[in-house]
Protein backbone atom coordinates (compact mmCIF):
# COMPACT_ATOMS: atom_id res chain seq x y z
CA UNK A 1 0.00 0.00 0.00
CA UNK A 2 2.78 2.40 0.91
CA UNK A 3 4.23 1.88 -2.54
CA UNK A 4 0.94 2.68 -4.25
CA UNK A 5 0.64 5.85 -2.20
CA UNK A 6 4.14 6.84 -3.19
CA UNK A 7 3.10 6.64 -6.84
CA UNK A 8 0.76 9.51 -6.13
CA UNK A 9 2.89 11.58 -3.74
CA UNK A 10 6.41 11.26 -5.14
CA UNK A 11 5.70 13.27 -8.29
CA UNK A 12 4.27 16.06 -6.16
CA UNK A 13 7.62 16.75 -4.56
CA UNK A 14 10.67 14.48 -4.69
CA UNK A 15 10.13 13.39 -8.25
CA UNK A 16 8.19 16.29 -9.69
CA UNK A 17 8.18 16.10 -13.48
CA UNK A 18 8.77 19.82 -13.95
CA UNK A 19 11.01 20.92 -11.10
CA UNK A 20 13.08 17.74 -10.67
CA UNK A 21 13.00 15.99 -14.02
CA UNK A 22 12.62 19.28 -15.91
CA UNK A 23 10.19 17.79 -18.43
CA UNK A 24 7.18 19.46 -19.99
CA UNK A 25 8.76 22.91 -19.70
CA UNK A 26 7.47 24.02 -23.10
CA UNK A 27 3.82 24.06 -22.09
CA UNK A 28 4.71 25.42 -18.66
CA UNK A 29 6.10 28.48 -20.42
CA UNK A 30 3.36 28.90 -22.94
CA UNK A 31 0.07 28.70 -21.08
CA UNK A 32 0.87 30.01 -17.62
CA UNK A 33 0.09 33.64 -18.36
CA UNK A 34 -3.35 33.26 -16.80
CA UNK A 35 -4.80 30.89 -14.27
CA UNK A 36 -7.82 29.60 -16.16
CA UNK A 37 -6.03 28.12 -19.20
CA UNK A 38 -3.40 26.66 -16.87
CA UNK A 39 -6.09 24.83 -14.88
CA UNK A 40 -7.83 23.55 -18.00
CA UNK A 41 -4.48 22.46 -19.41
CA UNK A 42 -3.70 20.60 -16.18
CA UNK A 43 -7.05 18.81 -16.26
CA UNK A 44 -6.58 17.91 -19.93
CA UNK A 45 -3.13 16.52 -19.23
CA UNK A 46 -4.47 14.65 -16.21
CA UNK A 47 -7.10 12.97 -18.36
CA UNK A 48 -4.70 12.16 -21.19
CA UNK A 49 -1.93 10.88 -18.95
CA UNK A 50 -4.08 8.69 -16.70
CA UNK A 51 -5.98 7.19 -19.64
CA UNK A 52 -2.88 6.66 -21.77
CA UNK A 53 -1.09 4.98 -18.88
CA UNK A 54 -4.01 2.59 -18.34
CA UNK A 55 -4.41 1.78 -22.03
CA UNK A 56 -0.71 1.14 -22.56
CA UNK A 57 -0.54 -0.90 -19.38
CA UNK A 58 -3.46 -3.06 -20.55
CA UNK A 59 -1.81 -3.58 -23.92
CA UNK A 60 1.72 -3.95 -22.56
CA UNK A 61 2.05 -7.69 -23.22
CA UNK A 62 0.70 -7.46 -26.75
CA UNK A 63 2.75 -4.51 -28.02
CA UNK A 64 5.59 -5.49 -30.37
CA UNK A 65 8.77 -3.93 -28.95
CA UNK A 66 9.88 -2.46 -32.25
CA UNK A 67 6.80 -0.31 -32.68
CA UNK A 68 6.10 0.46 -29.03
CA UNK A 69 6.91 4.19 -29.35
CA UNK A 70 4.55 4.45 -32.32
CA UNK A 71 1.81 2.68 -30.39
CA UNK A 72 2.31 5.06 -27.47
CA UNK A 73 2.14 8.07 -29.75
CA UNK A 74 -1.02 6.83 -31.42
CA UNK A 75 -2.70 6.32 -28.04
CA UNK A 76 -1.68 9.78 -26.84
CA UNK A 77 -2.67 11.48 -30.08
CA UNK A 78 -6.00 9.68 -30.01
CA UNK A 79 -6.80 10.91 -26.49
CA UNK A 80 -5.59 14.43 -27.21
CA UNK A 81 -7.79 14.75 -30.29
CA UNK A 82 -10.77 13.64 -28.23
CA UNK A 83 -9.98 16.27 -25.58
CA UNK A 84 -9.58 18.93 -28.27
CA UNK A 85 -12.90 18.05 -29.91
CA UNK A 86 -14.76 17.99 -26.60
CA UNK A 87 -13.32 21.36 -25.57
CA UNK A 88 -14.32 22.88 -28.91
CA UNK A 89 -17.85 21.61 -28.49
CA UNK A 90 -18.47 22.33 -24.81
CA UNK A 91 -15.84 24.79 -23.58
CA UNK A 92 -15.46 26.93 -26.66
CA UNK A 93 -13.92 29.97 -24.98
CA UNK A 94 -11.27 27.98 -23.17
CA UNK A 95 -10.46 26.00 -26.29
CA UNK A 96 -9.89 29.29 -28.10
CA UNK A 97 -7.46 30.41 -25.41
CA UNK A 98 -5.56 27.15 -25.36
CA UNK A 99 -5.61 27.02 -29.17
CA UNK A 100 -2.60 25.05 -30.38
CA UNK A 101 -1.42 23.99 -26.96
CA UNK A 102 -4.02 21.27 -26.61
CA UNK A 103 -2.60 19.66 -29.73
CA UNK A 104 0.84 20.06 -28.26
CA UNK A 105 -0.05 17.81 -25.31
CA UNK A 106 0.92 15.07 -27.77
CA UNK A 107 4.50 16.23 -27.59
CA UNK A 108 4.49 16.68 -23.82
CA UNK A 109 7.54 14.66 -22.85
CA UNK A 110 6.12 13.81 -19.41
CA UNK A 111 3.40 11.66 -20.95
CA UNK A 112 5.73 9.75 -23.28
CA UNK A 113 8.17 9.41 -20.43
CA UNK A 114 5.64 7.86 -18.05
CA UNK A 115 4.33 5.46 -20.71
CA UNK A 116 7.79 4.29 -21.59
CA UNK A 117 9.21 4.19 -18.08
CA UNK A 118 6.22 2.99 -16.09
CA UNK A 119 3.10 1.85 -17.93
CA UNK A 120 4.96 -0.60 -20.15
CA UNK A 121 6.17 -2.55 -17.13
CA UNK A 122 3.33 -2.26 -14.61
CA UNK A 123 -0.26 -3.33 -14.04
CA UNK A 124 -3.12 -0.98 -14.96
CA UNK A 125 -3.98 0.23 -11.45
CA UNK A 126 -0.48 1.33 -10.44
CA UNK A 127 -0.10 2.80 -13.92
CA UNK A 128 -3.30 4.78 -13.41
CA UNK A 129 -2.04 6.13 -10.07
CA UNK A 130 1.31 6.98 -11.62
CA UNK A 131 -0.46 8.92 -14.37
CA UNK A 132 -2.58 10.80 -11.83
CA UNK A 133 0.41 11.57 -9.62
CA UNK A 134 2.61 12.86 -12.41
CA UNK A 135 -0.06 14.97 -14.05
CA UNK A 136 -0.97 16.40 -10.64
CA UNK A 137 2.68 17.22 -10.02
CA UNK A 138 2.75 18.91 -13.41
CA UNK A 139 -0.52 20.72 -12.72
CA UNK A 140 0.54 22.03 -9.32
CA UNK A 141 3.60 23.74 -10.77
CA UNK A 142 1.63 25.03 -13.75
CA UNK A 143 -1.01 26.55 -11.50
CA UNK A 144 1.55 28.02 -9.12
CA UNK A 145 3.42 29.69 -11.98
CA UNK A 146 0.19 30.93 -13.56
CA UNK A 147 -0.95 32.34 -10.20
CA UNK A 148 2.24 34.37 -9.81
CA UNK A 149 2.30 35.54 -13.42
CA UNK A 150 -1.34 36.56 -13.53
CA UNK A 151 -1.09 38.34 -10.18
CA UNK A 152 2.02 40.34 -11.05
CA UNK A 153 1.38 40.66 -14.78
CA UNK A 154 -2.28 41.70 -14.76
CA UNK A 155 -3.11 42.28 -11.09
CA UNK A 156 -5.90 39.72 -11.43
CA UNK A 157 -6.64 36.18 -10.26
CA UNK A 158 -8.89 34.11 -12.51
CA UNK A 159 -9.78 37.33 -14.27
CA UNK A 160 -10.88 39.15 -11.10
CA UNK A 161 -9.08 42.30 -10.06
CA UNK A 162 -7.35 41.63 -6.74
CA UNK A 163 -4.87 44.48 -6.50
CA UNK A 164 -6.96 47.42 -5.31
CA UNK A 165 -7.09 50.67 -7.24
CA UNK A 166 -5.43 52.77 -4.46
CA UNK A 167 -2.28 50.71 -4.89
CA UNK A 168 -2.18 51.73 -8.55
CA UNK A 169 -2.89 55.34 -7.64
CA UNK A 170 0.10 55.16 -5.33
CA UNK A 171 2.35 54.41 -8.28
CA UNK A 172 2.25 50.61 -8.60
CA UNK A 173 1.91 49.22 -12.09
CA UNK A 174 1.52 45.74 -13.50
CA UNK A 175 4.73 44.14 -14.64
CA UNK A 176 4.47 43.65 -18.39
CA UNK A 177 7.54 41.43 -18.37
CA UNK A 178 5.61 38.86 -16.34
CA UNK A 179 3.37 37.99 -19.26
CA UNK A 180 6.28 37.20 -21.56
CA UNK A 181 7.58 33.60 -21.76
CA UNK A 182 11.05 34.22 -20.22
CA UNK A 183 9.49 35.11 -16.89
CA UNK A 184 7.84 31.68 -16.72
CA UNK A 185 11.29 30.17 -16.90
CA UNK A 186 12.53 32.44 -14.14
CA UNK A 187 9.49 31.70 -11.95
CA UNK A 188 10.00 27.96 -12.46
CA UNK A 189 13.65 28.49 -11.59
CA UNK A 190 12.73 30.25 -8.36
CA UNK A 191 10.32 27.43 -7.47
CA UNK A 192 13.09 24.88 -8.06
CA UNK A 193 15.42 26.95 -5.89
CA UNK A 194 12.93 27.12 -3.02
CA UNK A 195 12.10 23.43 -3.33
CA UNK A 196 15.74 22.39 -3.32
CA UNK A 197 16.63 24.48 -0.32
CA UNK A 198 13.61 23.24 1.67
CA UNK A 199 13.88 19.51 0.90
CA UNK A 200 16.75 17.74 2.64
CA UNK A 201 16.81 14.77 0.23
CA UNK A 202 17.52 17.09 -2.66
CA UNK A 203 20.43 18.99 -1.15
CA UNK A 204 23.58 18.09 -3.00
CA UNK A 205 27.01 18.65 -1.48
Amino acid sequence: MAKLKNLLTDPMNLNNPITIQVLGICSALAITVKLEPAVVMSISVLFVMAMANVIISLLRNTIPTRIRIIVQLVVIAFLVIIVDQVLKAFLYDVSKQLSVFVGLIITNCIIMGRLEAFALGNKPFPAFLDGLGNSAGYGVILIAVAFIRELLGFGTIWGFKVIPQPVYDFGYSDNGLMILPPMALIVVGVIIWIQRSKTKELIEN
Binding site: N61, P64, I70, V86, F90, S99, I179
Partner: protein, 232 residues
Protein backbone atom coordinates in the same frame (compact mmCIF):
# COMPACT_ATOMS: atom_id res chain seq x y z
CA UNK B 1 2.08 -16.40 -30.43
CA UNK B 2 5.31 -14.58 -31.24
CA UNK B 3 4.71 -10.96 -30.36
CA UNK B 4 7.94 -9.87 -32.03
CA UNK B 5 7.39 -11.42 -35.47
CA UNK B 6 7.08 -9.22 -38.52
CA UNK B 7 3.60 -10.36 -39.50
CA UNK B 8 2.28 -9.82 -35.97
CA UNK B 9 3.78 -6.32 -35.91
CA UNK B 10 2.13 -5.43 -39.22
CA UNK B 11 -1.25 -6.77 -38.24
CA UNK B 12 -1.03 -5.10 -34.84
CA UNK B 13 -0.25 -1.71 -36.37
CA UNK B 14 -2.98 -2.01 -39.00
CA UNK B 15 -5.69 -3.03 -36.58
CA UNK B 16 -4.70 -0.31 -34.13
CA UNK B 17 -4.84 2.38 -36.79
CA UNK B 18 -8.24 1.18 -38.02
CA UNK B 19 -9.76 1.19 -34.54
CA UNK B 20 -8.37 4.63 -33.69
CA UNK B 21 -9.42 6.12 -37.03
CA UNK B 22 -12.95 4.78 -36.73
CA UNK B 23 -13.38 6.05 -33.17
CA UNK B 24 -12.03 9.49 -33.97
CA UNK B 25 -14.13 9.82 -37.12
CA UNK B 26 -17.20 8.90 -35.10
CA UNK B 27 -16.41 11.40 -32.31
CA UNK B 28 -15.68 14.19 -34.76
CA UNK B 29 -18.90 13.72 -36.72
CA UNK B 30 -20.94 13.52 -33.53
CA UNK B 31 -19.50 16.73 -32.10
CA UNK B 32 -19.30 18.71 -35.30
CA UNK B 33 -22.82 20.22 -35.23
CA UNK B 34 -22.20 21.57 -31.71
CA UNK B 35 -18.83 23.00 -32.69
CA UNK B 36 -20.25 24.58 -35.83
CA UNK B 37 -23.08 26.10 -33.81
CA UNK B 38 -20.52 27.62 -31.42
CA UNK B 39 -18.65 29.24 -34.29
CA UNK B 40 -21.82 30.67 -35.80
CA UNK B 41 -23.04 31.97 -32.46
CA UNK B 42 -19.72 33.66 -31.88
CA UNK B 43 -19.89 35.28 -35.30
CA UNK B 44 -23.37 36.62 -34.54
CA UNK B 45 -22.15 37.82 -31.16
CA UNK B 46 -19.26 39.68 -32.81
CA UNK B 47 -21.54 41.30 -35.37
CA UNK B 48 -23.84 42.48 -32.59
CA UNK B 49 -20.98 43.74 -30.45
CA UNK B 50 -19.88 46.03 -33.27
CA UNK B 51 -23.16 47.95 -32.95
CA UNK B 52 -22.83 48.03 -29.19
CA UNK B 53 -25.25 45.22 -28.36
CA UNK B 54 -23.62 43.18 -25.60
CA UNK B 55 -24.96 39.67 -25.13
CA UNK B 56 -23.77 36.20 -24.27
CA UNK B 57 -23.04 33.70 -27.01
CA UNK B 58 -26.29 31.86 -26.39
CA UNK B 59 -28.41 35.00 -26.49
CA UNK B 60 -26.73 36.06 -29.71
CA UNK B 61 -28.95 33.88 -31.91
CA UNK B 62 -32.19 35.59 -30.84
CA UNK B 63 -30.72 39.07 -30.68
CA UNK B 64 -29.28 38.60 -34.16
CA UNK B 65 -32.75 37.82 -35.50
CA UNK B 66 -34.13 40.83 -33.69
CA UNK B 67 -31.60 43.44 -34.79
CA UNK B 68 -30.16 42.34 -38.11
CA UNK B 69 -32.98 43.20 -40.46
CA UNK B 70 -31.39 42.15 -43.71
CA UNK B 71 -28.14 41.02 -45.22
CA UNK B 72 -26.94 41.37 -48.74
CA UNK B 73 -23.99 40.60 -50.92
CA UNK B 74 -22.43 43.09 -53.30
CA UNK B 75 -19.51 43.13 -55.70
CA UNK B 76 -16.73 45.69 -55.95
CA UNK B 77 -18.72 47.76 -58.46
CA UNK B 78 -21.32 48.26 -55.79
CA UNK B 79 -24.00 46.10 -57.41
CA UNK B 80 -26.06 43.64 -55.42
CA UNK B 81 -25.39 40.02 -56.33
CA UNK B 82 -26.84 36.70 -55.25
CA UNK B 83 -25.53 34.97 -52.18
CA UNK B 84 -26.05 34.44 -48.49
CA UNK B 85 -23.97 37.01 -46.62
CA UNK B 86 -23.63 35.07 -43.40
CA UNK B 87 -22.10 32.03 -45.10
CA UNK B 88 -19.40 33.89 -46.99
CA UNK B 89 -15.93 32.93 -45.84
CA UNK B 90 -13.79 36.04 -45.96
CA UNK B 91 -10.56 34.07 -45.87
CA UNK B 92 -11.49 32.54 -49.23
CA UNK B 93 -12.80 35.78 -50.72
CA UNK B 94 -9.56 37.60 -49.88
CA UNK B 95 -7.61 35.21 -52.08
CA UNK B 96 -9.68 36.22 -55.13
CA UNK B 97 -9.22 39.29 -57.30
CA UNK B 98 -11.10 42.28 -55.93
CA UNK B 99 -13.53 42.25 -58.90
CA UNK B 100 -14.56 38.68 -58.19
CA UNK B 101 -15.10 38.94 -54.45
CA UNK B 102 -18.46 38.52 -52.80
CA UNK B 103 -18.79 41.27 -50.21
CA UNK B 104 -21.26 40.81 -47.38
CA UNK B 105 -23.13 43.65 -45.69
CA UNK B 106 -25.31 43.27 -42.61
CA UNK B 107 -27.99 45.84 -42.10
CA UNK B 108 -28.88 46.44 -38.50
CA UNK B 109 -31.74 48.43 -37.05
CA UNK B 110 -31.16 49.66 -33.54
CA UNK B 111 -33.24 52.32 -31.78
CA UNK B 112 -34.80 53.30 -35.08
CA UNK B 113 -31.49 53.97 -36.81
CA UNK B 114 -29.91 51.90 -39.54
CA UNK B 115 -26.33 50.70 -39.30
CA UNK B 116 -24.34 48.89 -41.92
CA UNK B 117 -21.91 46.28 -40.66
CA UNK B 118 -19.10 45.04 -42.82
CA UNK B 119 -16.55 42.39 -41.94
CA UNK B 120 -12.80 42.92 -42.20
CA UNK B 121 -10.11 40.28 -42.28
CA UNK B 122 -6.40 40.17 -42.88
CA UNK B 123 -3.05 39.05 -41.60
CA UNK B 124 -1.80 39.99 -38.15
CA UNK B 125 1.66 39.40 -36.80
CA UNK B 126 1.28 35.70 -35.96
CA UNK B 127 -1.98 34.72 -37.59
CA UNK B 128 -5.23 36.05 -39.00
CA UNK B 129 -6.99 39.05 -37.49
CA UNK B 130 -10.59 39.93 -38.23
CA UNK B 131 -13.41 42.10 -37.07
CA UNK B 132 -16.60 43.96 -37.85
CA UNK B 133 -17.13 47.66 -38.49
CA UNK B 134 -20.54 49.21 -37.95
CA UNK B 135 -21.02 52.31 -40.09
CA UNK B 136 -23.72 54.90 -39.69
CA UNK B 137 -26.13 55.85 -42.48
CA UNK B 138 -23.55 58.10 -44.17
CA UNK B 139 -21.35 55.02 -44.79
CA UNK B 140 -18.41 56.91 -43.33
CA UNK B 141 -18.84 57.47 -39.61
CA UNK B 142 -17.87 54.49 -37.50
CA UNK B 143 -20.51 53.67 -34.93
CA UNK B 144 -18.67 50.78 -33.39
CA UNK B 145 -15.96 48.30 -34.11
CA UNK B 146 -14.85 44.90 -32.86
CA UNK B 147 -11.66 42.99 -33.55
CA UNK B 148 -10.50 39.52 -32.77
CA UNK B 149 -7.39 37.56 -33.58
CA UNK B 150 -6.02 34.07 -33.70
CA UNK B 151 -2.61 34.37 -32.08
CA UNK B 152 -1.40 37.92 -31.44
CA UNK B 153 0.98 38.41 -28.51
CA UNK B 154 -0.97 38.46 -25.22
CA UNK B 155 -0.79 41.84 -23.53
CA UNK B 156 0.60 43.54 -26.63
CA UNK B 157 -0.87 42.90 -30.07
CA UNK B 158 -3.73 40.92 -28.53
CA UNK B 159 -4.99 44.17 -26.98
CA UNK B 160 -6.70 44.93 -30.32
CA UNK B 161 -9.49 42.69 -29.02
CA UNK B 162 -10.07 44.85 -25.95
CA UNK B 163 -12.47 47.69 -25.33
CA UNK B 164 -9.95 50.44 -24.59
CA UNK B 165 -8.37 50.01 -27.99
CA UNK B 166 -11.65 49.72 -29.88
CA UNK B 167 -13.56 52.54 -28.17
CA UNK B 168 -11.68 55.46 -29.83
CA UNK B 169 -12.75 54.23 -33.29
CA UNK B 170 -16.29 55.36 -32.53
CA UNK B 171 -17.12 58.59 -34.33
CA UNK B 172 -14.13 58.45 -36.67
CA UNK B 173 -14.73 58.68 -40.40
CA UNK B 174 -13.34 56.46 -43.12
CA UNK B 175 -13.83 59.10 -45.87
CA UNK B 176 -12.16 62.50 -45.70
CA UNK B 177 -13.93 65.73 -46.59
CA UNK B 178 -12.98 65.46 -50.24
CA UNK B 179 -14.70 62.07 -50.36
CA UNK B 180 -11.48 60.08 -50.56
CA UNK B 181 -11.29 56.74 -48.76
CA UNK B 182 -8.63 57.23 -46.10
CA UNK B 183 -9.65 54.44 -43.71
CA UNK B 184 -8.35 54.79 -40.15
CA UNK B 185 -4.73 55.43 -39.31
CA UNK B 186 -3.50 53.72 -36.15
CA UNK B 187 -0.96 56.28 -35.07
CA UNK B 188 2.16 55.27 -33.25
CA UNK B 189 3.09 57.83 -30.62
CA UNK B 190 -0.49 58.95 -30.13
CA UNK B 191 -3.25 60.13 -32.44
CA UNK B 192 -3.85 63.76 -33.26
CA UNK B 193 -6.86 64.57 -31.04
CA UNK B 194 -8.40 66.75 -33.76
CA UNK B 195 -8.12 64.17 -36.51
CA UNK B 196 -11.21 62.27 -37.59
CA UNK B 197 -9.13 59.51 -39.10
CA UNK B 198 -6.62 58.56 -36.41
CA UNK B 199 -6.65 56.41 -33.28
CA UNK B 200 -3.94 55.54 -30.76
CA UNK B 201 -1.71 52.56 -31.41
CA UNK B 202 -0.68 50.04 -28.75
CA UNK B 203 2.74 50.45 -27.16
CA UNK B 204 4.71 47.31 -27.88
CA UNK B 205 2.12 46.16 -30.40
CA UNK B 206 3.35 48.19 -33.34
CA UNK B 207 3.50 45.40 -35.89
CA UNK B 208 0.01 44.16 -35.08
CA UNK B 209 -1.27 47.74 -35.31
CA UNK B 210 0.39 48.31 -38.68
CA UNK B 211 -1.08 45.03 -39.97
CA UNK B 212 -4.49 45.97 -38.62
CA UNK B 213 -4.32 49.34 -40.32
CA UNK B 214 -3.50 47.59 -43.60
CA UNK B 215 -6.29 45.05 -43.01
CA UNK B 216 -8.83 47.81 -42.47
CA UNK B 217 -7.80 49.74 -45.56
CA UNK B 218 -7.67 46.70 -47.82
CA UNK B 219 -11.00 45.41 -46.54
CA UNK B 220 -12.68 48.76 -47.14
CA UNK B 221 -11.38 49.35 -50.68
CA UNK B 222 -13.73 46.81 -52.35
CA UNK B 223 -16.71 48.53 -50.72
CA UNK B 224 -15.67 52.03 -51.79
CA UNK B 225 -17.86 52.34 -54.86
CA UNK B 226 -20.89 50.93 -53.03
CA UNK B 227 -20.46 53.43 -50.19
CA UNK B 228 -20.07 56.34 -52.60
CA UNK B 229 -23.09 55.30 -54.64
CA UNK B 230 -25.34 55.06 -51.64
CA UNK B 231 -24.21 58.16 -49.82
CA UNK B 232 -25.44 61.03 -51.89
Amino acid sequence: MNVQSNSYTFIYASVMVLIVAATLAFTATQLQPIQQANIEKEKKQNILTSVGIECSRDEAVDKYKEYITSTYVINSKGEAIDGEAFNIKLAEENRKEIEERQLPIYKCNKDGKNFYIIPVRGKGLWGPIWGYIALEGDYSTIFGIVFDHKAETPGLGAEIATGWFQAPFKGKKIFDEAGKLVSIVIAKGGADPNSLHEVDAISGGTITCKKLEKTLFESLIPYESYFKKNNK
